[in-house]
């Protein structure tokens, strides 16, 4: 395992209750592991513990088979971190940002110009980063996190602020890196991203992991067998639903399809968001709860 966390708990100084409590999960090599939860559920706190930004946690957290506390500064040669918000030197150009950043690593790094081109960012742009759009800054932050060719890549809401074209590009890059063997710890509340990319997901609510499984198994567990059919009758659309787990309804569905002009047929599979809602009783987009 690349990451193994057991009974992980962290309380911010002065806080009445822990931000994360008794967390347990693992991430395998080349796995995209989704950490899903609403705002304030403890996703970013967990990422900060794993990236050594927050110290003073309780429990056991091992990365690359070694306690995170025992990792020295060379730990950062092997991980890449992309935070939720761009954190760049805004008065420097993109190439200066990448150039200075790569100098801090003790290992071979990617060429900034090639790295920029990979995510459709302008090469040789003399403008300071402050003049770039939020989406471009986010892609630059993402690019920077890959410069040292990390074995473990932490991503926090990587498609935030991206247009559909670039969101697809980022999702493709994440999949590509995972296929090359990079483990990805993906923190998000975007279920489309999670569903498409993650090999396994953990649902996190109020600092607790409620479930860990593959998106497919989770959806199958919560599936229903209803089918919604739209037909055109006398130039108006009619809807009809069938429960395919009921043999009578199943036969009725077959007869209905045979006897009518069908416009659309939709299975009523739950989305990952539906599963999240049913499992946790919480919506992903609900506002942060005061602690």
């Amino acid at each position: 395992m690349i990451v193994e966390a057991c009974d992980l708990r962290f309380t911010y100084p002065g806080a009445a209750k822990p931000a994360i409590d008794d967390l347990g999960f693992s991430v395998g090599e080349g796995e995209v592991f989704g950490f899903l939860g609403p705002n304030g559920s403890g996703k970013s706190t967990t990422q900060k513990v794993l990236t050594k930004i927050l110290q003073g946690y309780e429990g056991r957290v091992e990365v690359f088979g070694r306690d995170v506390r025992r990792h020295g500064s060379d730990y950062f040669n092997e991980i890449g971190v992309c935070f939720e918000f761009p954190n760049l030197y805004e008065k420097l150009t993109a190439e200066e940002n990448l150039g200075f950043y790569r100098d801090f690593f003790d290992i071979p790094t990617d060429e900034p110009r090639e790295a920029l081109a990979r995510l459709d960012l302008p090469v040789g742009d003399s403008r300071p980063v402050s003049q770039w759009s939020k989406g471009m800054k986010m892609r630059l932050t993402l690019t920077r996190s890959l410069l040292n060719r990390p074995r473990l890549w932490f991503l926090d809401e990587p498609t935030t602020g991206q247009d559909p074209h670039h969101a697809v590009m980022i999702r493709r890059l994440i999949r590509e890196k995972a296929d090359e063997g990079t483990s990805v710890f993906l923190t998000t509340h975007d279920m489309t991203v999670a569903d498409e990319l993650c090999d396994r997901v953990a649902f996190l609510v109020d600092g607790h992991v409620l479930v860990v499984d593959t998106p497919r198994r989770l959806k199958l567990e919560h599936r229903n067998h209803r089918v919604e059919v739209e037909t055109l009758v006398n130039e108006s659309t009619e809807h009809r639903g069938f429960d395919l787990s009921d043999p009578k309804d199943k036969q009725a569905f077959v007869d209905f399809v045979r006897d009518h002009d069908i416009e659309t047929i939709h299975t009523q599979e739950p989305t990952l968001e539906d599963v999240f809602l049913r499992t946790t009783g919480r919506a992903l987009s609900e506002p942060e709860r005061p602690s």
Binding site: I53, F83, N87, Y89, E90, K91, F100, F104
Partner: protein, 229 residues
């Protein structure tokens, strides 16, 4: 460690350059030279220069490094450096050293501009650098306590006033060693020793050592209080 410290210092120098800090340091240096040369009699200059140095580079170190820290906090750029092999001591030291490099360069220019080209100017480098590291670290410690720059100013002004108490002994308002326990006393008197007609090497070594010890303690405090997020 040294190569990372040098690289991080280069980064902060570049950021300071783009943020206009370099212009502030050198603009003020030229203004000071002009005012002193035009309005201060030559016989007063050796008395005035130490106070001027501490007033400018000691005080400015507190505010400029704190301003840099608030800038980094706004951009969240410190967080980006926290996930590189750069250690926190290297990050903080580089930030104060970058200000130190500017203060030393501007300070040497002011000294040469007022006192003329003199070999003593080179002896000024170490106390000036140590003073800026000390003041910059104090600035970072204070900045870690306030979330906004305006609130920081409210806290920093009394602190700087307190640190400036050695001026009272320097201007003979209280006995010489009354405030010798304050770090800026060493800075002030090391500058005074250098511009005096008979500089003493032993005094220089003693005061600069004292200053370096204070700077190291303040730097340690700044590392401990570093705000990343």
């Amino acid at each position: 460690m040294i190569h990372r410290l040098v690289r991080a210092t280069r980064l902060f120098l570049q950021v300071q350059y783009r943020s206009g800090f370099v212009h502030v340091y050198f603009g003020l240096a030229l203004f000071t030279i002009l005012v002193v040369r035009l309005f201060v009699p030559a016989s007063w200059r050796s008395f005035l220069v130490p106070a001027l140095f501490l007033g400018e580079y000691g005080t400015m170190g507190v505010f400029m490094v704190a301003a840099q820290s608030y800038l980094a906090r706004n951009e969240r750029s410190s967080l980006a450096l926290a996930v590189t092999p750069l250690r926190s001591i290297e990050r903080v030291a580089a930030m104060v050293l970058a200000s130190g490099v500017l203060a030393v360069a501007a300070g040497l220019l002011v000294f040469a501009g007022i006192m003329g080209i003199d070999p003593r100017v080179l002896w000024l480098t170490l106390p000036l650098l140590a003073t800026t590291v000390l003041s910059g670290s104090v600035g970072l410690i204070l900045a870690s306590r306030y979330s906004e720059f305006t609130r920081f100013l409210m806290g920093a002004v009394p602190a700087v006033t307190f640190f400036s108490l050695p001026f009272l002994s320097f201007f003979d308002l209280v006995p010489r060693y009354t405030f010798a326990w304050l770090p800026w006393d060493a800075a002030l008197y090391s500058f005074a020793n250098l511009v005096s007609e008979t500089p003493q090497l032993s005094t220089y070594v003693l005061l600069v050592t004292q200053l370096l010890v204070f700077a190291a303690i303040a730097l340690y405090g700044a590392v401990r209080s570093e705000v990343l997020d």
